[in-house]
Structures are given as structure tokens and as C-alpha cells.
């Protein structure tokens, strides 16, 4: 199954995402901040990244730019609970930087998974 990297500093939320994705038989990788995600990035087994945006030690925008550089074909979904950088929100910045999809927290996990499957062209099995 495709590999999904979860980058999220909030432990409980990261755990929830990990469990829900594992239920759908995804290979789940995790990182608790941006720097971790970039340093330990495994392009060969990672097909999609779900990344938070506001994090200590390199934010999600940096993650998007860096991982795209390493693996241009990687699919990226940005998730955020709000926050603004300059005139635009972090989410719209993420979109502008090339995130394939954006979700505002709290989101429906089923919507997120549906989107992941769509982006990875995985057969939807309910």
C-alpha cells in the first residue's frame, strides 16, 4: 500500500491520523515537526504527505517546498487550525506553494481519507 507521511506536532492528533490511516491499510510514517520530516524523509516509500503548517522547528510551508524539491511527484495535503502570515492565511500560502489539497482543522477524517485515495488513485473500498 502507498506510504503516507504525517507531519504534526500535536501528539494526540498525529496518533489519531496514524490509526485512521492504518485502518485503511496505508503504510504510515510520522514526524513531529518540520525538520524531522525533512531530515528523515524517505522518498522511495512516501507517496503522500499530510502536513500541519504551524509547527516549531521548520513550519509546514518549508516542508512543502523541501519535499517537493526532493520528490517532485509527491502529493501534499496541508492541514491547519488557523493562523495568518502576512496578508494570507497559512492554508492559502500552502495552496500557492503547490499543496494538492488543504483542510481546515477540525475536518472530517473520512473526507481527508477520500481525498488521499483520490490523489493516490487508490480503489475506494468501504
Amino acid at each position: 500500500m502507498p506510504g503516507v507521511l504525517i507531519v504534526e506536532d500535536e501528539k494526540e492528533l498525529r496518533e489519531m491520523l496514524k490509526i485512521s490511516l492504518a485502518r485503511r491499510k496505508f503504510t504510515v510514517l510520522e514526524a513531529e515537526n518540520g525538520r524531522d520530516a525533512i531530515v528523515h524523509f524517505k522518498p522511495s516509500i512516501t507517496d503522500l504527505v499530510v502536513t500541519d503548517l504551524i509547527m516549531p522547528d521548520e513550519d509546514g510551508l518549508k516542508v512543502i517546498m523541501k519535499l517537493r524539491e526532493i520528490k517532485p511527484s509527491i502529493k501534499i495535503i496541508a492541514i491547519s487550525g488557523g493562523g495568518k502570515a502576512g496578508p494570507g492565511s497559512y492554508l492559502s500560502l500552502a495552496k500557492a506553494l503547490g499543496a494538492n489539497a488543504i483542510f481546515s482543522k477540525p475536518f472530517s477524517i473520512n473526507d481527508l481519507i477520500a481525498r488521499i485515495e483520490e490523489l493516490l488513485d487508490v480503489e475506494q473500498h468501504k
Binding site: 500535536e10 494526540e12 492528533l13 496518533e15 489519531m16 491520523l17 490509526i19 485512521s20 485502518r23 504551524i54 492541514i79 487550525g81 488557523g82 493562523g83 495568518k84 494570507g88 492565511s89 492554508l91 492559502s92 489539497a101 488543504i102 481546515s104 482543522k105 477540525p106 475536518f107 472530517s108 477524517i109 473520512n110 481525498r115
Partner: protein, 640 residues
């Protein structure tokens, strides 16, 4: 002979003496700086002095015997001179001032005095005319008047009130500015008043007077005075004591400036800073809460999948999800207040949004309340999210109704376009547009105390009873308006009513085309509530979408079966009474429609028909209130 001789000698002596006397008096008369003449009853000159001849550039003998009419001209004589001479011949001394021309001096101001000359019998045969050049005097007089006038206007026009008081505090003189500041319309009665009657704090004037006597001049800083309407005015007062020759106080001068505007701006700045701080704090908390809500929501969804449908636990998880939705709505409002969410904006005629909102409110208005609106026909474009503006207007009107619910009342809504420079003066901050739309909501409700007004835009601050609303309403409105580079102000008086004033910059140009990515996409809009859906269609049309609006199922079938004009997307607002959810689902399956659909429902609405939900047609489900940003994100991800 000798007697004769001596007699003739005496006569000669007398004559010589008289000759000498006449010579002296002639010289006195000739050297006078006034023109002196003797005029007889025929209005002829009988005698003229040298000054007169000099001024007229004539010789003595050529004038004597001539009539005044010849010398001054028939017209001048008849109009200005004759009547005065006639009056003098009745025995009165006549004095007047006039400007006239003399050949030598040109036009100058003269003082003329006619004195009657009578013989021993008392008959007035002649008059003595004395004409003195007073032009220089007049000029200096005029200069004094001008100077005085100049000072008067200076004293009147300056926005500083000047008062002169006697040592007892009685007002001797007050300038116009003082009357203006104190809103007194009676100039006369003010001079009968004592300054103490204007002080809010009793005894303060006497303390100030003591200080003043010690140091002669003193700035008292901010002092509250009561104006003639008994309103308290913050004033900046400077005093000065004038001392007379004996060393005692002659009078006291006060300069009084109205500092209410300064104080108002100071307060406004403080409030803005406070809101900014609260915003940053609340925004951070909302961000953290969204993480927590996301975790709860995720587990709830997973649980639901594991539980048998229609079981008690399945329903309980449904309750958890409802609580998450409610929590999300609150964090979203906080983020709007702290301006941490993007507002999707389009060019929009704000008058139209306001009119729709008023119509919406009127359709469900409590009895005893009246709305009066003054909205000009002229379009007023602003750059905004119409759905947000709708919320702002709706919220302010609902608040007004709450304020008036006990006694009933009138809500006046007005819209006008004002010049930017006026706004600059009003708000005392940099402006971003040449023109601003000014929208006012004025109610006759119970009003607010000043201490309340100060805090009205703070989040979670509410004037209503605990449990009624979250208290986020006005803070969210503040966030939305501020994000639009606008301003919202409030003025209120206890038991009189409140007014909310909104300034929004008028947008001139169409913006960046990149904000309208899905141009030419066709959207079939199944409209619900007339006014609410009108707002949403304004927003979507403003974003560049092609809208087909229908409100009954016949039209839905018609559009869906006509191939050439097939929509890319369907937006369905569930409060559409004409088209039931079940009906939509039926039409969808009967016609085998695969067009994606966005569903918009009220948050407390029953879960939609499963058939519709499970058909896979519903791409997105949005809860009201829907912002333009949300719907546009939904459209983009549904069509992509």
C-alpha cells in the same frame, strides 16, 4: 486847528490800531489749518481765509462774492451743503463729517462746522464755516477699528474658549468659542453666571484659584465641565491672573479647550490595541482547540464506522460530532475576530446586500418594531465577502431588536458615500480609498452605559443574559470589518438608544483576475430562502461563475435534460421549500445525473436523506453560515 489836528491824529492812531488788529486777526485766520469762510444768506462767500484759497488754488478776490453752488458745483451744493446751511440759519450750530474733493488736496475727509453769526439785534445774517481736514485722523481711527475687528475674529474663530472672570469667579466676558464648547445659545445670560456653575467637581475651581494666585499662570490639565445641556465635557484649562497697580487681583483669564475628541481618539486607540492583544491571545487558543477538535472528530468518525447504525452508541457519537461542529463554529468565530482566517472577497454593491438583509429581517420581524431605511439608488461598490456582510448587517439588526424588545422602537438604517478626507478626520487614521461607504444602524432601544461601550467589541463580552448567545457576535463583526480595512464605531446613550456606524472603503478597480479561477463554470443553484440565497448568488456571480437559478423541480428537470447548457455543478440549499431533498435524490437517480452536488444545510437540520448522501453525488456538505471562502473551496475541490 490844533484841536482838529489832534483830533485827526487820534483818528489816524485809532485807524492804525484797528488796521494792526485786523492784520493780526487776519493772520490768525489765514494761518489756521482749517478753511474758514463767512457765508451770507444768499449762499455767497463774503470772506475766505488763505487756507481755503490755497486748497482751492484761487485768489481771495476771485472767490469772495461767488456762490457756494458755483464753487462746489450745483449738485454737491444742493445735495449736501444747502440743508446744513439752512439749518444753521435757524440758529443752530451744525457739525458733520464728509469726504469731498478740493483741487489742491484731492478727495479727503473733512469736519465741517457751521456757526450762526448774529448782529446785535439777534438777527442771523451770516454764518461762519470752519472746515477741517480730518483725513489722517479718520485713517488712524479706521486702522484701530480694523485691528480690533482682526482681534475679534481671531478670538472668535479659534476653537479655544476665552473667559475673563472677576476675582469672585463671575464671568465678565466670554468669547464665541466658549459658548460653542458649552453649547450655550444665550450670549447675554452667560455674563451673569459664575464659572463655578460649570464645574462638575464642586470646590475644584477654588483650589485652582489658590494655585493660580501663587504662580500667576497655570495649566490645569483635563478638567470636566458641565455644558448647558448638563453633559460632561472634558476640557483643557489654562489660567492667568492679571494684577492691578495696587498688587491685588484685577481679573482672571481662562483659556478652555474642548478635549473630548482627543479623549475619544485616545480611548479608541487604547481599545484597538486591547482588541489586537486579545485577538492574538484568543487566536492562539482557537488554533490549539482546533487541533483538539480534529482529534475528537477523527475518533468519533472511526467509532461511528465500528458501531451498528441506529444503535444507542451510534447516536451518542453523533452527539459528540454535533458538539465538535459547535466547537468549530466558535473557534472559527474567534479566528475571524482575530483576523486569522482569509476572507474571500469580491467586488460587490453593498447597497444590494444591505437591502436584501433588511428584506430578510423584515420577513421575520417581531411586532412593535419598525425599520426605516435610507439607501440611495446609486451603487456603492466595496471589496467584500457578501455572506460576511450579510452576517454583519443581520447581527447588528438583531442586536438592535434585542435592545428594543421590551418597549418596541424604531431602527433606522442608512447608507451614504462620503469623501475619504472626511473619514480621515473622523477616524484620525490613514485612509485607503478616496471614498467610503458609511452605513449606520440607529435604534431607539435601551442603550448602554459608557463602561459597557468601551468593551462591546471584546470577544465573550455580552450585554445579554448568560446563556443567550456566545458574546462573540460584535467581536466577529469587528474582525470582519477591520479585515476589510473598514472601521466600526459605536455611540450609545442609556435609555435613548445606540448607533453602530460602519465605514467601508469604496473599491474602484476590479481586482486580480487570479481570484476568479473558475470563470465560465456553470453552476445550477437550487435556491432556498429568497434573501439568503440572493446573497450567496451575489457572491458567486461576483466570483465570476455563471449561475442558473431555479427554485422548482420542473425547471430542475428541464435544465438537466437539456444537453447543451449542462451545469458543471449543483449547489443545493436544503431550506428550499419547493424542492425536497427526497425529490432531488429521485430526480438524480431517475435521470442518472452525475453532476457533483454541494449541499448546504442548517447546522441543526436533520441528517439528510441517506440515499442522497450515499449516492456519492454529494461532494461536499457545508453548514450555514457559509462563507464565500468555504463555498469556493468546496466548488474547486468538487469540480477538479
Amino acid at each position: 486847528m490844533a484841536e482838529n489836528k489832534s483830533d485827526s491824529t487820534d483818528k489816524t492812531e485809532v485807524l492804525r490800531y484797528l488796521e494792526k488788529e485786523k492784520d493780526i486777526s487776519d493772520q490768525i485766520i489765514d494761518h489756521s489749518r482749517s478753511m474758514i469762510t463767512v457765508i451770507n444768506r444768499d449762499y455767497n462767500y463774503e470772506k475766505v481765509n488763505a487756507t481755503f484759497c490755497n486748497a482751492h488754488k484761487v485768489a481771495d478776490e476771485s472767490v469772495v462774492g461767488k456762490s457756494l453752488s458755483d464753487v462746489w458745483g450745483y449738485d454737491t451744493f444742493n445735495r449736501f451743503i444747502k440743508s446744513n446751511i439752512d439749518l444753521c440759519f435757524t440758529g443752530k450750530t451744525v457739525r458733520y463729517e464728509a469726504a469731498f474733493n478740493t483741487p489742491k488736496l484731492g478727495k479727503r475727509y473733512f469736519e465741517v462746522i457751521f456757526r450762526p453769526i448774529s448782529t446785535g439785534t439777534g438777527e442771523i445774517t451770516h454764518l461762519l464755516a470752519e472746515t477741517t481736514d480730518i483725513d489722517d485722523l479718520m485713517q488712524s481711527k479706521r486702522a484701530v477699528i480694523e485691528k480690533e475687528e482682526e482681534f475679534r475674529t481671531f478670538e472668535t474663530n479659534l476653537p479655544i474658549g476665552f473667559l475673563r472672570l472677576d476675582p469672585g469667579g463671575n464671568i465678565l466676558h466670554a468669547n464665541r468659542a466658549f459658548l460653542r464648547i458649552m453649547e450655550c445659545h444665550d450670549e447675554i445670560s452667560i455674563t451673569r453666571m459664575n464659572i463655578r456653575s460649570f464645574y462638575v467637581e464642586e470646590g475644584l475651581f477654588d483650589i485652582q484659584l489658590d494655585q493660580l494666585l501663587d504662580c500667576n499662570t497655570k495649566n490645569f490639565g483635563r478638567v470636566y465641565l458641565k455644558n448647558c445641556n448638563k453633559d460632561e465635557i472634558p476640557c483643557r484649562i489654562t489660567g492667568y491672573v492679571a494684577v492691578n497697580d495696587e498688587g491685588t487681583t484685577a481679573y482672571i483669564d481662562f483659556a478652555i479647550e474642548d478635549s473630548s475628541r482627543e479623549l475619544m481618539l485616545e480611548n479608541r486607540l487604547q481599545q484597538a490595541q486591547k482588541l489586537e492583544t486579545i485577538g492574538a491571545l484568543a487566536g492562539g487558543i482557537a488554533h490549539d482547540f482546533n487541533n483538539i477538535l480534529a482529534t475528537i472528530s477523527g475518533y468519533a468518525e472511526m467509532l461511528k464506522e465500528d458501531l451498528p447504525k441506529n444503535s444507542e452508541n451510534f447516536d451518542k457519537v453523533g452527539r459528540i460530532q454535533a458538539a465538535v461542529t459547535r466547537g468549530r463554529s466558535i473557534t472559527n468565530q474567534i479566528l475571524t475576530f482575530s483576523r486569522q482566517v482569509d476572507q474571500e472577497k469580491v467586488q460587490i454593491n453593498v447597497s444590494e446586500v444591505l437591502k436584501e438583509t433588511i428584506a430578510f429581517v423584515k420577513s421575520a420581524m417581531p411586532s412593535g418594531l419598525v425599520i426605516r431605511s435610507r439607501i440611495p439608488k446609486r451603487k456603492a461598490f466595496v471589496f467584500a465577502d457578501p455572506t460576511q456582510l450579510f452576517r454583519v448587517f443581520l447581527n447588528l439588526m438583531t442586536n438592535a431588536f434585542h435592545a428594543m424588545e421590551e418597549k418596541g422602537g424604531l431602527l433606522t438604517v442608512s447608507l451614504s458615500v462620503v469623501e475619504g478626507k472626511i473619514v480621515k478626520h473622523e477616524l484620525n487614521k490613514d485612509i485607503v480609498a478616496d471614498e467610503y461607504v458609511l452605513i449606520t444602524f440607529k435604534d431607539t432601544g435601551k442603550g448602554m452605559e459608557p463602561s459597557l461601550i468601551k468593551r462591546i467589541f471584546e470577544p465573550f463580552f455580552t450585554t445579554r443574559d448568560v446563556g443567550k448567545g456566545t458574546g462573540l457576535g460584535l467581536s466577529v463583526i469587528h474582525g470582519i470589518i477591520t479585515e476589510m480595512e473598514g472601521e466600526i464605531l459605536v455611540s450609545s446613550k442609556k435609555d435613548i438608544g445606540s448607533a453602530f456606524i460602519i465605514y467601508l472603503p469604496v473599491s474602484k478597480k476590479y481586482t486580480d483576475p487570479s481570484v476568479r479561477p473558475d470563470k465560465r463554470k456553470k453552476i445550477l443553484f437550487l435556491t432556498g430562502n429568497k434573501h439568503e440565497s440572493r446573497i450567496l448568488s451575489l457572491a458567486l456571480e461576483g466570483s465570476g461563475y455563471d449561475l442558473i437559478k431555479i427554485n422548482n423541480s420542473e425547471n430542475l428537470i428541464k435544465v438537466m435534460t437539456t444537453t447543451e447548457d449542462h451545469p458543471d455543478l449543483v449547489i443545493y440549499m436544503t431550506d428550499s421549500k419547493q424542492i425536497q431533498q427526497r425529490e432531488l435524490a429521485a430526480i438524480y437517480s431517475r435521470l442518472k445525473i452525475s453532476t457533483p452536488c454541494i449541499l448546504i444545510t442548517d447546522p441543526d437540520q436533520e441528517i439528510m436523506e441517506e440515499k442522497l448522501l450515499n449516492s456519492g453525488i454529494i461532494k461536499q456538505h457545508l453548514l450555514k453560515p457559509v462563507s464565500l471562502r468555504e463555498i469556493r473551496d468546496a466548488i474547486q475541490s468538487s469540480i477538479s
